[in-house]
Symmetry: C2
Protein backbone atom coordinates (compact mmCIF):
# COMPACT_ATOMS: atom_id res chain seq x y z
CA UNK A 1 0.00 0.00 0.00
CA UNK A 2 1.47 3.30 -1.15
CA UNK A 3 1.04 6.39 1.04
CA UNK A 4 1.14 9.64 -0.95
CA UNK A 5 1.13 13.20 0.35
CA UNK A 6 1.75 15.41 -2.69
CA UNK A 7 -0.56 16.01 -5.63
CA UNK A 8 2.31 15.59 -8.10
CA UNK A 9 3.22 12.17 -6.64
CA UNK A 10 -0.43 11.07 -6.67
CA UNK A 11 -0.75 12.02 -10.35
CA UNK A 12 2.46 10.17 -11.18
CA UNK A 13 1.43 7.03 -9.27
CA UNK A 14 -2.03 7.12 -10.86
CA UNK A 15 -0.48 6.59 -14.29
CA UNK A 16 0.98 3.27 -13.13
CA UNK A 17 -2.22 1.92 -11.54
CA UNK A 18 -4.01 -0.89 -13.40
CA UNK A 19 -7.46 0.32 -14.58
CA UNK A 20 -10.29 0.60 -13.80
CA UNK A 21 -9.46 2.64 -10.70
CA UNK A 22 -11.99 2.89 -7.86
CA UNK A 23 -11.83 5.83 -5.46
CA UNK A 24 -13.15 6.27 -1.92
CA UNK A 25 -12.77 9.84 -0.60
CA UNK A 26 -12.88 10.02 3.22
CA UNK A 27 -12.11 12.38 6.09
CA UNK A 28 -10.41 9.53 7.96
CA UNK A 29 -11.24 8.15 11.39
CA UNK A 30 -12.47 5.18 9.45
CA UNK A 31 -15.15 2.74 10.48
CA UNK A 32 -16.79 -0.31 9.01
CA UNK A 33 -18.90 1.89 6.70
CA UNK A 34 -15.78 3.17 4.95
CA UNK A 35 -14.26 -0.31 4.77
CA UNK A 36 -17.44 -1.59 3.11
CA UNK A 37 -16.97 1.08 0.42
CA UNK A 38 -13.33 0.07 -0.09
CA UNK A 39 -14.17 -3.65 -0.24
CA UNK A 40 -16.89 -2.99 -2.78
CA UNK A 41 -14.57 -0.75 -4.82
CA UNK A 42 -11.91 -3.47 -4.72
CA UNK A 43 -14.42 -6.06 -5.92
CA UNK A 44 -15.24 -4.14 -9.11
CA UNK A 45 -11.96 -2.37 -9.97
CA UNK A 46 -8.37 -3.44 -10.54
CA UNK A 47 -7.04 -0.71 -8.22
CA UNK A 48 -8.44 1.27 -5.30
CA UNK A 49 -7.32 4.69 -4.08
CA UNK A 50 -8.57 6.04 -0.74
CA UNK A 51 -8.11 9.68 0.26
CA UNK A 52 -7.93 10.83 3.87
CA UNK A 53 -8.40 14.58 4.05
CA UNK A 54 -10.28 16.51 6.72
CA UNK A 55 -11.47 19.24 4.38
CA UNK A 56 -11.54 22.61 6.14
CA UNK A 57 -13.77 24.28 3.54
CA UNK A 58 -16.76 22.08 4.34
CA UNK A 59 -16.79 23.07 8.02
CA UNK A 60 -18.49 26.28 9.12
CA UNK A 61 -16.66 28.75 11.36
CA UNK A 62 -18.49 27.44 14.46
CA UNK A 63 -18.04 23.78 13.54
CA UNK A 64 -15.70 21.02 14.63
CA UNK A 65 -12.89 21.16 12.03
CA UNK A 66 -10.19 21.57 14.68
CA UNK A 67 -11.46 18.78 16.86
CA UNK A 68 -12.76 16.45 14.13
CA UNK A 69 -11.37 13.06 15.23
CA UNK A 70 -8.12 12.00 13.53
CA UNK A 71 -6.12 8.79 13.83
CA UNK A 72 -4.09 8.26 10.64
CA UNK A 73 -2.07 5.32 11.98
CA UNK A 74 -5.19 3.36 12.81
CA UNK A 75 -6.76 4.36 9.45
CA UNK A 76 -3.74 3.11 7.51
CA UNK A 77 -3.73 -0.21 9.39
CA UNK A 78 -7.42 -0.68 8.57
CA UNK A 79 -6.92 0.20 4.89
CA UNK A 80 -4.06 -2.31 4.68
CA UNK A 81 -6.48 -5.11 5.70
CA UNK A 82 -8.80 -4.36 2.75
CA UNK A 83 -5.96 -4.28 0.19
CA UNK A 84 -6.05 -0.58 -0.66
CA UNK A 85 -3.49 0.23 -3.40
CA UNK A 86 -2.83 3.86 -2.51
CA UNK A 87 -3.79 6.27 0.23
CA UNK A 88 -3.72 9.96 -0.69
CA UNK A 89 -3.38 12.14 2.41
CA UNK A 90 -2.35 15.65 1.39
CA UNK A 91 -1.64 18.46 3.88
CA UNK A 92 -4.18 21.31 3.84
CA UNK A 93 -1.73 23.73 2.12
CA UNK A 94 -1.27 21.25 -0.72
CA UNK A 95 -4.98 21.33 -1.50
CA UNK A 96 -5.56 25.00 -0.66
CA UNK A 97 -2.40 27.04 -1.30
CA UNK A 98 -2.36 30.72 -0.23
CA UNK A 99 -4.80 32.81 -2.28
CA UNK A 100 -6.89 29.76 -3.25
CA UNK A 101 -10.23 31.03 -4.55
CA UNK A 102 -11.92 28.60 -6.98
CA UNK A 103 -15.22 27.03 -5.95
CA UNK A 104 -17.68 24.51 -7.32
CA UNK A 105 -21.17 25.17 -6.14
CA UNK A 106 -24.65 23.77 -6.77
CA UNK A 107 -27.82 25.78 -6.32
CA UNK A 108 -31.22 24.79 -4.92
CA UNK A 109 -30.44 21.18 -4.01
CA UNK A 110 -27.67 22.35 -1.65
CA UNK A 111 -29.84 24.90 0.17
CA UNK A 112 -32.09 22.22 1.70
CA UNK A 113 -31.62 19.87 4.67
CA UNK A 114 -27.94 19.88 5.62
CA UNK A 115 -27.35 22.93 3.41
CA UNK A 116 -29.98 24.93 5.30
CA UNK A 117 -28.25 24.16 8.61
CA UNK A 118 -24.71 24.51 7.18
CA UNK A 119 -24.75 27.17 4.43
CA UNK A 120 -21.18 26.75 3.12
CA UNK A 121 -20.91 22.99 3.71
CA UNK A 122 -21.73 21.66 0.24
CA UNK A 123 -19.61 24.24 -1.53
CA UNK A 124 -16.66 22.81 0.42
CA UNK A 125 -17.65 19.24 -0.45
CA UNK A 126 -18.19 19.82 -4.17
CA UNK A 127 -14.98 21.85 -4.45
CA UNK A 128 -12.75 19.30 -2.73
CA UNK A 129 -14.33 16.36 -4.55
CA UNK A 130 -13.84 18.06 -7.94
CA UNK A 131 -10.19 18.59 -7.05
CA UNK A 132 -9.79 15.00 -5.83
CA UNK A 133 -11.48 13.67 -8.98
CA UNK A 134 -9.08 15.70 -11.15
CA UNK A 135 -6.07 14.47 -9.15
CA UNK A 136 -7.01 10.79 -8.80
CA UNK A 137 -8.93 10.49 -12.11
CA UNK A 138 -10.93 7.48 -10.97
CA UNK A 139 -13.21 5.42 -13.18
CA UNK A 140 -15.62 4.93 -10.28
CA UNK A 141 -16.09 6.85 -7.03
CA UNK A 142 -17.94 5.49 -3.99
CA UNK A 143 -20.02 7.31 -1.40
CA UNK A 144 -22.24 6.11 1.44
CA UNK A 145 -26.01 6.50 1.48
CA UNK A 146 -25.76 7.76 5.07
CA UNK A 147 -24.90 11.17 3.62
CA UNK A 148 -27.83 10.96 1.21
CA UNK A 149 -27.84 14.60 0.20
CA UNK A 150 -24.07 14.58 -0.38
CA UNK A 151 -24.43 11.54 -2.66
CA UNK A 152 -27.23 13.26 -4.63
CA UNK A 153 -25.26 16.51 -4.91
CA UNK A 154 -22.09 14.78 -6.11
CA UNK A 155 -23.98 12.63 -8.61
CA UNK A 156 -25.65 15.74 -10.05
CA UNK A 157 -22.34 17.63 -10.07
CA UNK A 158 -20.46 14.91 -11.95
CA UNK A 159 -23.25 14.65 -14.52
CA UNK A 160 -23.68 18.40 -15.02
CA UNK A 161 -19.96 19.18 -15.27
CA UNK A 162 -19.70 16.36 -17.85
CA UNK A 163 -17.32 14.19 -15.84
CA UNK A 164 -18.78 11.40 -17.94
CA UNK A 165 -15.86 9.00 -17.68
CA UNK A 166 -16.54 8.74 -14.00
CA UNK A 167 -19.31 6.73 -12.40
CA UNK A 168 -20.51 7.99 -9.00
CA UNK A 169 -21.79 5.04 -6.97
CA UNK A 170 -23.77 5.23 -3.73
CA UNK A 171 -23.70 2.21 -1.39
CA UNK A 172 -26.07 1.36 1.49
CA UNK A 173 -25.55 2.71 5.00
CA UNK A 174 -23.66 0.33 7.28
CA UNK A 175 -25.21 0.04 10.76
CA UNK A 176 -24.26 -1.14 14.22
CA UNK A 177 -26.17 -4.26 15.38
CA UNK A 178 -28.73 -2.02 17.14
CA UNK A 179 -29.36 -0.01 13.97
CA UNK A 180 -27.26 3.12 14.63
CA UNK A 181 -25.68 4.31 11.37
CA UNK A 182 -21.89 4.14 11.54
CA UNK A 183 -20.27 7.58 11.72
CA UNK A 184 -16.94 9.02 12.79
CA UNK A 185 -18.89 11.37 15.04
CA UNK A 186 -20.39 8.51 17.10
CA UNK A 187 -17.17 8.66 19.13
CA UNK A 188 -18.44 11.89 20.70
CA UNK A 189 -21.45 10.16 22.31
CA UNK A 190 -21.52 9.41 26.05
CA UNK A 191 -22.72 5.86 26.91
CA UNK A 192 -26.21 7.17 27.69
CA UNK A 193 -26.34 9.20 24.45
CA UNK A 194 -25.05 6.20 22.48
CA UNK A 195 -27.91 4.13 23.86
CA UNK A 196 -30.50 6.83 23.08
CA UNK A 197 -29.11 7.31 19.55
CA UNK A 198 -30.89 4.16 18.35
CA UNK A 199 -33.99 6.34 18.21
CA UNK A 200 -32.93 7.72 14.79
CA UNK A 201 -33.18 4.40 12.99
CA UNK A 202 -36.25 3.39 15.00
CA UNK A 203 -38.07 6.49 13.79
CA UNK A 204 -37.05 5.77 10.18
CA UNK A 205 -38.32 2.20 10.47
CA UNK A 206 -41.56 3.60 11.90
CA UNK A 207 -41.92 5.88 8.85
CA UNK A 208 -41.37 2.93 6.54
CA UNK A 209 -43.95 0.86 8.40
CA UNK A 210 -46.53 3.65 8.35
CA UNK A 211 -46.03 4.01 4.60
CA UNK A 212 -46.39 0.27 4.11
CA UNK A 213 -49.63 0.39 6.12
CA UNK A 214 -51.01 2.93 3.65
CA UNK A 215 -50.21 6.28 5.29
CA UNK A 216 -49.53 8.91 2.60
CA UNK A 217 -49.82 12.11 4.66
CA UNK A 218 -46.27 13.33 5.21
CA UNK A 219 -47.28 15.53 8.16
CA UNK A 220 -48.75 12.56 10.03
CA UNK A 221 -45.64 10.45 9.46
CA UNK A 222 -43.50 13.40 10.53
CA UNK A 223 -45.53 13.82 13.72
CA UNK A 224 -45.30 10.15 14.69
CA UNK A 225 -41.54 10.16 14.13
CA UNK A 226 -41.26 13.27 16.29
CA UNK A 227 -43.39 11.70 19.06
CA UNK A 228 -41.17 8.62 19.09
CA UNK A 229 -37.92 10.63 19.25
CA UNK A 230 -39.21 12.94 21.96
CA UNK A 231 -39.61 9.94 24.27
CA UNK A 232 -35.80 9.87 24.36
CA UNK A 233 -34.85 12.63 26.85
CA UNK A 234 -31.28 13.18 25.54
CA UNK A 235 -32.43 13.61 21.92
CA UNK A 236 -33.07 17.05 20.40
CA UNK A 237 -34.59 16.97 16.92
CA UNK A 238 -32.82 19.34 14.49
CA UNK A 239 -35.00 18.44 11.49
CA UNK A 240 -37.14 15.65 10.07
CA UNK A 241 -37.71 15.73 6.31
CA UNK A 242 -39.86 13.73 3.92
CA UNK A 243 -38.81 14.83 0.45
CA UNK A 244 -38.71 13.89 -3.21
CA UNK A 245 -35.61 11.66 -3.34
CA UNK A 246 -34.20 13.43 -6.41
CA UNK A 247 -35.08 17.11 -6.04
CA UNK A 248 -35.29 17.18 -2.20
CA UNK A 249 -38.52 19.17 -2.49
CA UNK A 250 -40.55 18.57 0.68
CA UNK A 251 -43.65 16.41 0.17
CA UNK A 252 -47.17 16.90 1.54
CA UNK A 253 -48.32 13.59 0.07
CA UNK A 254 -45.74 10.83 0.01
CA UNK A 255 -44.82 9.74 -3.51
CA UNK A 256 -42.00 7.32 -4.35
CA UNK A 257 -39.09 7.51 -4.34
CA UNK A 258 -39.09 9.55 -1.12
CA UNK A 259 -36.12 10.36 1.10
CA UNK A 260 -36.97 10.29 4.79
CA UNK A 261 -34.09 11.94 6.60
CA UNK A 262 -33.41 13.47 9.97
CA UNK A 263 -30.81 15.08 12.16
CA UNK A 264 -30.97 14.60 15.91
CA UNK A 265 -28.61 16.24 18.34
CA UNK A 266 -27.24 14.55 21.44
CA UNK A 267 -25.48 17.29 23.38
CA UNK A 268 -23.37 19.02 20.71
CA UNK A 269 -23.20 15.96 18.46
CA UNK A 270 -25.36 16.05 15.32
CA UNK A 271 -26.33 12.59 14.10
CA UNK A 272 -27.72 12.06 10.57
CA UNK A 273 -29.67 9.16 9.18
CA UNK A 274 -32.10 8.43 6.36
CA UNK A 275 -33.95 5.79 4.40
CA UNK A 276 -35.34 5.89 0.90
CA UNK A 277 -38.90 4.66 0.37
CA UNK A 278 -39.02 2.99 -3.05
Amino acid sequence: MRIIESIADMKKFRLKLPEPVGFVPTMGYLHEGHLALVRHAKSENKSVVVSIFVNPTQFGPQEDFGKYPRDPQRDLAMLETVKTDAVFMPPVEEMYPPGYDTWVELGKITHRLEGAARPTHFRGVTTVVTKLFNIVQPNRAYFGQKDAQQALVLTKMARELNMDDLEVITLPTVREPDGLAMSSRNIYLSPAERKGATVLYQSLRLAEQLYQNGERDARKVHQQMLDLIQKEPLAQVDYISIANAETLDELDTIKLPALVSLVVKFGRTRLLDNIVLR
Copy 2:
Protein backbone atom coordinates in the same frame (compact mmCIF):
# COMPACT_ATOMS: atom_id res chain seq x y z
CA MET B 1 -13.27 18.58 -40.65
CA ARG B 2 -15.80 16.88 -38.42
CA ILE B 3 -18.81 18.88 -37.15
CA ILE B 4 -20.19 17.55 -33.89
CA GLU B 5 -23.31 18.62 -32.02
CA SER B 6 -23.74 16.13 -29.16
CA ILE B 7 -21.54 15.72 -26.11
CA ALA B 8 -21.56 11.94 -26.50
CA ASP B 9 -20.32 12.18 -30.11
CA MET B 10 -17.64 14.68 -29.14
CA LYS B 11 -16.38 12.34 -26.38
CA LYS B 12 -16.36 9.41 -28.80
CA PHE B 13 -14.53 11.34 -31.52
CA ARG B 14 -12.02 12.67 -28.98
CA LEU B 15 -10.81 9.12 -28.29
CA LYS B 16 -9.81 8.76 -31.94
CA LEU B 17 -7.93 12.08 -32.22
CA PRO B 18 -4.12 11.91 -32.37
CA GLU B 19 -2.59 13.55 -29.28
CA PRO B 20 -1.68 16.11 -28.13
CA VAL B 21 -5.04 17.82 -28.70
CA GLY B 22 -5.25 21.63 -28.78
CA PHE B 23 -8.55 23.34 -28.02
CA VAL B 24 -9.87 26.79 -28.93
CA PRO B 25 -13.22 27.63 -27.28
CA THR B 26 -15.12 30.41 -29.10
CA MET B 27 -18.56 31.98 -29.27
CA GLY B 28 -18.36 31.97 -33.08
CA TYR B 29 -18.57 34.92 -35.46
CA LEU B 30 -14.90 34.29 -35.96
CA HIS B 31 -12.27 36.80 -36.96
CA GLU B 32 -8.55 36.79 -37.55
CA GLY B 33 -7.91 36.74 -33.78
CA HIS B 34 -9.61 33.36 -33.47
CA LEU B 35 -7.84 32.01 -36.56
CA ALA B 36 -4.49 33.03 -35.08
CA LEU B 37 -5.34 30.91 -32.01
CA VAL B 38 -6.29 27.93 -34.20
CA ARG B 39 -3.16 28.24 -36.34
CA HIS B 40 -0.98 28.41 -33.25
CA ALA B 41 -2.80 25.42 -31.72
CA LYS B 42 -2.33 23.49 -34.95
CA SER B 43 1.40 24.31 -34.97
CA GLU B 44 2.00 22.72 -31.57
CA ASN B 45 -0.57 19.88 -31.42
CA LYS B 46 -1.40 16.88 -33.58
CA SER B 47 -5.14 17.73 -33.50
CA VAL B 48 -7.20 20.85 -32.96
CA VAL B 49 -10.78 21.08 -31.71
CA VAL B 50 -12.68 24.38 -31.89
CA SER B 51 -15.96 24.92 -30.06
CA ILE B 52 -18.59 27.40 -31.20
CA PHE B 53 -21.07 28.02 -28.42
CA VAL B 54 -22.72 31.32 -27.56
CA ASN B 55 -22.90 30.64 -23.85
CA PRO B 56 -26.09 32.09 -22.34
CA THR B 57 -24.85 31.90 -18.74
CA GLN B 58 -22.12 34.47 -19.30
CA PHE B 59 -24.57 37.13 -20.49
CA GLY B 60 -26.45 39.25 -17.96
CA PRO B 61 -30.23 39.66 -18.26
CA GLN B 62 -29.84 43.09 -19.92
CA GLU B 63 -27.05 41.97 -22.25
CA ASP B 64 -26.85 40.98 -25.90
CA PHE B 65 -27.18 37.15 -25.79
CA GLY B 66 -30.15 37.13 -28.15
CA LYS B 67 -28.55 39.45 -30.66
CA TYR B 68 -24.94 38.33 -30.27
CA PRO B 69 -23.79 37.96 -33.91
CA ARG B 70 -23.94 34.43 -35.32
CA ASP B 71 -22.88 33.06 -38.70
CA PRO B 72 -22.03 29.36 -38.39
CA GLN B 73 -21.67 28.75 -42.14
CA ARG B 74 -19.04 31.45 -42.47
CA ASP B 75 -17.33 30.23 -39.27
CA LEU B 76 -17.09 26.66 -40.58
CA ALA B 77 -15.66 27.83 -43.89
CA MET B 78 -13.01 29.84 -42.06
CA LEU B 79 -12.12 26.92 -39.75
CA GLU B 80 -11.74 24.64 -42.77
CA THR B 81 -9.01 26.94 -44.14
CA VAL B 82 -6.89 26.53 -40.98
CA LYS B 83 -7.20 22.71 -40.91
CA THR B 84 -9.37 22.36 -37.82
CA ASP B 85 -9.97 18.67 -37.05
CA ALA B 86 -13.31 18.98 -35.25
CA VAL B 87 -15.82 21.72 -34.52
CA PHE B 88 -18.00 21.17 -31.47
CA MET B 89 -21.20 23.22 -31.70
CA PRO B 90 -23.73 21.93 -29.17
CA PRO B 91 -27.26 23.32 -28.83
CA VAL B 92 -27.92 25.20 -25.58
CA GLU B 93 -30.09 22.37 -24.14
CA GLU B 94 -27.23 19.92 -24.63
CA MET B 95 -24.96 21.99 -22.40
CA TYR B 96 -27.65 23.16 -19.96
CA PRO B 97 -30.43 20.56 -19.69
CA PRO B 98 -33.56 21.47 -17.67
CA GLY B 99 -32.77 21.82 -13.96
CA TYR B 100 -29.08 22.48 -14.63
CA ASP B 101 -27.59 23.96 -11.45
CA THR B 102 -23.82 23.33 -11.09
CA TRP B 103 -21.48 26.33 -11.15
CA VAL B 104 -17.76 26.97 -11.05
CA GLU B 105 -16.97 30.31 -9.53
CA LEU B 106 -13.87 32.25 -8.53
CA GLY B 107 -13.82 34.90 -5.83
CA LYS B 108 -12.03 38.25 -5.64
CA ILE B 109 -10.32 38.18 -9.04
CA THR B 110 -13.73 37.96 -10.77
CA HIS B 111 -15.25 40.89 -8.89
CA ARG B 112 -12.93 43.43 -10.50
CA LEU B 113 -12.94 45.11 -13.94
CA GLU B 114 -15.34 43.16 -16.18
CA GLY B 115 -16.73 41.33 -13.15
CA ALA B 116 -17.68 44.62 -11.45
CA ALA B 117 -19.61 45.69 -14.54
CA ARG B 118 -21.02 42.20 -15.27
CA PRO B 119 -21.55 40.41 -11.93
CA THR B 120 -22.49 36.91 -13.23
CA HIS B 121 -20.28 36.99 -16.33
CA PHE B 122 -17.25 35.06 -15.09
CA ARG B 123 -19.35 32.42 -13.35
CA GLY B 124 -20.80 31.66 -16.78
CA VAL B 125 -17.36 31.59 -18.38
CA THR B 126 -15.70 29.36 -15.77
CA THR B 127 -18.67 26.98 -15.73
CA VAL B 128 -18.88 26.52 -19.48
CA VAL B 129 -15.11 26.22 -19.87
CA THR B 130 -14.94 23.54 -17.14
CA LYS B 131 -17.65 21.62 -18.97
CA LEU B 132 -15.91 22.04 -22.34
CA PHE B 133 -12.58 20.95 -20.83
CA ASN B 134 -14.23 17.81 -19.41
CA ILE B 135 -15.90 17.05 -22.74
CA VAL B 136 -12.98 17.79 -25.08
CA GLN B 137 -10.17 16.81 -22.67
CA PRO B 138 -7.55 18.89 -24.43
CA ASN B 139 -3.84 18.84 -23.65
CA ARG B 140 -3.63 22.57 -24.35
CA ALA B 141 -6.29 25.28 -24.46
CA TYR B 142 -5.82 28.68 -26.13
CA PHE B 143 -7.26 32.06 -25.19
CA GLY B 144 -6.61 35.58 -26.46
CA GLN B 145 -4.93 38.29 -24.41
CA LYS B 146 -7.67 40.69 -25.52
CA ASP B 147 -9.83 39.22 -22.75
CA ALA B 148 -6.99 39.57 -20.25
CA GLN B 149 -9.08 39.02 -17.14
CA GLN B 150 -10.75 35.95 -18.66
CA ALA B 151 -7.33 34.48 -19.44
CA LEU B 152 -6.15 35.12 -15.86
CA VAL B 153 -9.32 33.67 -14.35
CA LEU B 154 -9.18 30.51 -16.47
CA THR B 155 -5.48 29.99 -15.79
CA LYS B 156 -6.12 30.27 -12.04
CA MET B 157 -9.17 28.01 -12.27
CA ALA B 158 -7.33 25.24 -14.10
CA ARG B 159 -4.46 25.37 -11.63
CA GLU B 160 -6.63 25.49 -8.50
CA LEU B 161 -9.02 22.73 -9.60
CA ASN B 162 -5.94 20.60 -10.38
CA MET B 163 -6.62 20.24 -14.09
CA ASP B 164 -2.87 19.65 -14.29
CA ASP B 165 -2.84 17.67 -17.52
CA LEU B 166 -4.05 20.76 -19.29
CA GLU B 167 -1.95 23.76 -20.20
CA VAL B 168 -3.84 27.06 -20.52
CA ILE B 169 -2.06 29.28 -23.05
CA THR B 170 -2.71 32.98 -23.66
CA LEU B 171 -1.74 34.44 -27.05
CA PRO B 172 -1.29 38.12 -28.01
CA THR B 173 -4.20 40.28 -29.14
CA VAL B 174 -4.58 40.46 -32.91
CA ARG B 175 -5.24 44.00 -34.19
CA GLU B 176 -6.55 45.71 -37.28
CA PRO B 177 -3.91 47.76 -39.19
CA ASP B 178 -5.00 50.90 -37.31
CA GLY B 179 -4.57 49.17 -33.92
CA LEU B 180 -8.20 48.31 -33.05
CA ALA B 181 -8.30 44.93 -31.27
CA MET B 182 -10.23 42.36 -33.28
CA SER B 183 -13.60 41.51 -31.70
CA SER B 184 -16.87 39.98 -32.83
CA ARG B 185 -18.58 43.06 -31.41
CA ASN B 186 -16.77 45.45 -33.80
CA ILE B 187 -19.52 44.62 -36.30
CA TYR B 188 -21.89 46.76 -34.23
CA LEU B 189 -19.89 49.95 -34.85
CA SER B 190 -21.07 52.62 -37.30
CA PRO B 191 -18.36 53.89 -39.68
CA ALA B 192 -17.84 56.97 -37.50
CA GLU B 193 -17.66 54.85 -34.33
CA ARG B 194 -15.28 52.43 -36.02
CA LYS B 195 -12.99 55.33 -36.83
CA GLY B 196 -13.16 56.71 -33.30
CA ALA B 197 -12.54 53.28 -31.79
CA THR B 198 -8.82 53.53 -32.53
CA VAL B 199 -8.67 55.72 -29.45
CA LEU B 200 -8.55 52.63 -27.18
CA TYR B 201 -5.22 51.39 -28.48
CA GLN B 202 -3.87 54.94 -28.79
CA SER B 203 -4.52 55.50 -25.09
CA LEU B 204 -2.81 52.20 -24.21
CA ARG B 205 0.23 53.15 -26.27
CA LEU B 206 0.25 56.50 -24.50
CA ALA B 207 0.30 54.72 -21.11
CA GLU B 208 3.20 52.57 -22.27
CA GLN B 209 5.12 55.62 -23.47
CA LEU B 210 4.50 57.53 -20.24
CA TYR B 211 5.79 54.55 -18.27
CA GLN B 212 8.87 54.30 -20.49
CA ASN B 213 9.50 58.01 -19.93
CA GLY B 214 9.61 57.36 -16.19
CA GLU B 215 6.06 58.12 -15.03
CA ARG B 216 5.12 55.83 -12.10
CA ASP B 217 2.05 57.64 -10.75
CA ALA B 218 -0.95 55.59 -11.88
CA ARG B 219 -3.37 58.48 -11.37
CA LYS B 220 -1.40 60.68 -13.75
CA VAL B 221 -1.28 58.00 -16.43
CA HIS B 222 -5.00 57.37 -15.92
CA GLN B 223 -5.76 61.08 -16.33
CA GLN B 224 -3.76 61.42 -19.53
CA MET B 225 -5.46 58.37 -21.03
CA LEU B 226 -8.83 59.85 -20.10
CA ASP B 227 -7.95 63.23 -21.62
CA LEU B 228 -6.95 61.53 -24.87
CA ILE B 229 -10.13 59.46 -25.08
CA GLN B 230 -12.39 62.38 -24.26
CA LYS B 231 -11.17 64.14 -27.38
CA GLU B 232 -13.17 61.52 -29.30
CA PRO B 233 -16.79 62.74 -29.08
CA LEU B 234 -18.42 59.30 -29.72
CA ALA B 235 -16.38 57.57 -26.97
CA GLN B 236 -17.74 57.11 -23.44
CA VAL B 237 -15.22 55.71 -20.95
CA ASP B 238 -16.65 52.86 -18.87
CA TYR B 239 -13.45 52.25 -16.90
CA ILE B 240 -9.67 52.64 -17.12
CA SER B 241 -7.63 50.40 -14.82
CA ILE B 242 -3.95 50.14 -13.97
CA ALA B 243 -3.62 46.99 -11.88
CA ASN B 244 -1.25 44.29 -10.68
CA ALA B 245 -1.24 41.92 -13.66
CA GLU B 246 -1.75 38.82 -11.49
CA THR B 247 -4.07 39.86 -8.66
CA LEU B 248 -5.83 42.72 -10.52
CA ASP B 249 -5.41 44.91 -7.42
CA GLU B 250 -5.44 48.56 -8.54
CA LEU B 251 -2.06 50.30 -8.32
CA ASP B 252 -1.24 53.76 -7.01
CA THR B 253 2.40 53.42 -8.03
CA ILE B 254 3.02 51.40 -11.18
CA LYS B 255 5.02 48.22 -10.54
CA LEU B 256 5.64 45.54 -13.15
CA PRO B 257 3.97 43.48 -14.42
CA ALA B 258 1.00 45.84 -14.66
CA LEU B 259 -2.18 45.34 -16.65
CA VAL B 260 -3.46 48.56 -18.22
CA SER B 261 -7.01 47.85 -19.37
CA LEU B 262 -10.04 49.82 -20.36
CA VAL B 263 -13.59 49.61 -21.62
CA VAL B 264 -14.96 52.33 -23.82
CA LYS B 265 -18.53 52.46 -25.07
CA PHE B 266 -19.53 53.61 -28.53
CA GLY B 267 -23.31 53.87 -28.44
CA ARG B 268 -24.35 50.56 -26.83
CA THR B 269 -21.21 48.70 -27.89
CA ARG B 270 -18.64 48.04 -25.17
CA LEU B 271 -15.10 47.69 -26.52
CA LEU B 272 -12.31 46.17 -24.40
CA ASP B 273 -8.59 46.42 -24.79
CA ASN B 274 -5.45 46.13 -22.68
CA ILE B 275 -1.68 45.93 -22.65
CA VAL B 276 0.66 44.45 -20.09
CA LEU B 277 3.64 46.56 -19.00
CA ARG B 278 6.52 44.16 -18.33
